[in-house]
């Protein structure tokens, strides 16, 4: 695979912006001082850290004192959830959803073995929550509600502020995994019900290994990583200065480009989606198309399997995903699509295309050009077709009866 591939897997990770590389390089080469040092050499670096913190805060509409740099989304989610529980030891109930990222779901499963009860809210066929189910689950014993802003696989956006209002009315801490939403949706923490929010640098054209956790001022916080007193004691360890300078620059660029990039991505995504649906039979969009990230489309191609589609796309140097990148290497069908109750006919053949501000019209054209042939080729190979559907229906019925 050449470097100049058609990269439509931006919910997995993104290309590092050249301006971001340029901003961080001096902090690898020349300005390598420790920001905690008392000398001027370290002090210069501390200033860079402060600027980065301000840049990230600006993107989130937060105060710089509310930003803690982390190693990325997984650490942020772990830190936020554990902090919320440690701060309220008398409460033993957590609410989350069935479609969260493994950074939240796996931790919740572990917490269940440690005496916590967890409610996993279901989603409907469009991947949306039923807020009545949330209301019914919320009790005075609920310590934490952890709900993602936007789903990484389908792009479905949850009504976070409405959820937050219900959560706050019950006195629970509200944590939001906003890894996919930051940079794609406008955020303003000053007028928000969110107590803690997590973002990751590599989803917004910064390098991997850097992220940030927003902690609303006044929310009791217990650090996940302890040691030195860096970051006001909320995350120990010498700061990853090149990484956080990069994150700051990337945040600045996101703020600068968001409006224009969002409009372009919606146009490109919709063109891709509509053309695919018009050219290829037996396929459908997965997720809530009315409440969705601007850059994401997840399409289920019936009767064929996703990995086979991906490898054929790969031959044309087109990168997409058959589900969460974190699930690659697993045999499991997407837990998100399963929670939506999609039939297996569609489930295994679902492909996610996720765009970014670098995506070009010519790249969309190329996908439109090659995809119908790939789908037709694989359907020609498949034993499951409309005219040979008895076997398929038999399998689906067996599963339905379970």
């Amino acid at each position: 695979m050449q470097r100049n591939c058609i990269y439509l897997d931006n919910n997995a990770t993104t290309k590092v912006d050249p301006a971001v590389v340029e901003a961080m390089m001096p902090y690898i080469t020349d300005y390598y001082g420790n920001p905690s040092s008392m000398h001027t050499f370290g002090g210069q670096v501390a200033k860079a850290v402060k600027i980065a913190r301000e840049q990230v805060a600006a993107l989130l509409g937060a105060d710089e004192t509310e930003i803690v740099f982390t190693s990325g989304g997984t650490e942020g989610d772990n830190a936020a959830i554990r902090a919320a529980l440690l701060a309220q030891p008398e409460k033993r109930h957590i609410i989350t959803t069935q479609v969260e990222h493994p950074a939240v779901l796996t931790l919740c499963k572990q917490l269940e073995t440690q005496g916590y009860s967890v409610t996993y809210l279901s989603v409907n066929q469009h991947g949306q929550l039923d807020l009545d189910e949330l209301d019914a689950a919320l009790t005075g014993n609920t310590a934490l509600v952890s709900i993602m802003y936007a789903n990484n696989e389908t792009g479905t956006v949850f009504p976070i502020e409405e959820i937050g209002a219900r959560v706050k009315a019950k006195g629970a801490i509200f944590h939001v995994d906003a890894v996919q939403a930051v940079g794609k949706l406008p955020l303003n923490m000053k007028n928000s019900t969110i107590d803690m929010l997590v973002m990751s640098g590599h989803k917004i054209h910064a390098p991997k290994g850097i992220g940030a956790l927003y902690i609303r001022r006044g929310v009791r916080f217990r650090p996940l990583i302890i040691g030195g007193g860096q970051q006001r004691g909320r995350r120990a360890g010498t700061e990853n200065v090149p990484g956080l300078v990069a994150l700051g620059k990337a945040a600045e660029l996101e703020l600068l480009h968001m409006e224009e990039a969002t409009a372009r991505e919606i146009k490109q995504r919709d063109r891709l989606e509509k053309t695919i649906l018009s050219l290829i039979s037996d396929c459908e969009v997965n997720g809530d198309i009315t409440q969705r990230l601007p850059n994401t489309t997840n399409i289920g191609f019936k009767y064929i399997e996703g990995e086979a589609i991906l490898l054929h796309l790969n031959q044309h140097q087109i990168c997409a995903s058959s589900g969460s990148a974190c699930s690659s290497g697993s045999l499991e069908p997407s837990h998100v699509l399963r929670a939506m109750g999609l039939p297996y006919t569609t489930l295994h053949g679902s492909i996610r295309f996720s765009l970014c501000r670098y995506t070009t019209e010519a790249e969309i054209d190329k996908v439109i050009e090659v995809l119908p042939g790939i789908i037709q080729h694989l359907r020609d190979l498949s034993p499951f077709k409309n005219d040979q559907a008895a076997w398929l229906q038999q399998h689906e019925q067996v599963l339905t009866h379970r």
Partner: protein, 293 residues
Amino acid sequence: MWEYTDKVLELFYNPKNQGVLEDKGESGVKITTGEVGSIACGDALRLHLKVDVDTDKIVDARFQTFGCTSAIASSEALVELVKGKTLDEALEVTNKEIAAYLGGLPEAKIHCSVMGQEALEAAIYNYRGIPLDVHEEDDEGALVCTCFGISESRIRRVVKENNLTRAEDVINYIKAGGGCGSCLATIDDIIVSIQREVTTSQASNNNPGQLAVKALTPVQKIALIQKVLDEEVRPVLIADGGDVELYDVDGDIIKVKLQGACGSCSSSFATLKIAIEARLRDRISPSIVVEAV
């Protein structure tokens, strides 16, 4: 991304034997098909064979496959391997040969080659009018692997038929447990229970181990204990992240060291008594007592 060999990719991108063989009433030949797999598991294969009635030879073969890269490549490999063979010769083709033809498959994709072998058997049995093992019981009973919709009955059957000893083997054969992994502990329990059933059955039949033990010298007895531990006990414990080591033998008192997860597990006493002592009593002597040191 999975690591596929060049051969897998070549056959996946350029399959030459896909499609259907239809019965056109040609004299001297018959068409037969075999179907295996499931859309729930994400792979299924329909194999078509054209058989020369006089020579019993497979003169042509085609496949239709729903599945991943390795499922399609395995189908192509299967067809290449069986063309020109007699049905008896074809029945000798194993999933290992299919995998070898491909230059190997990722361990988690071995089930694709198993599917090929099963489809071949189904097609030949159809041709010969031998009733296929429908395994209706596979759809009954508790659902163990919810990711792939696989029941306890099917897992039990596959474990027994293939003498599987680890949950990882079950994943490789039928995918059960290969999704979220939350049922792996249940699959381990199923394997242990099958092994216990087999051992009990052997013991009640003629219990050669117990009869033989009377004639064993101390050295032979220790060697037999070590063999049972290595072959029957440790694979199960290792699959759970634990292990056991033989420490000493004093008459019928056998001392062992529980290691790894077994050493720190809250149910280590149950492991000692159920997984180890019961097994050694069945295989060697009912008076054996196992103690942890």
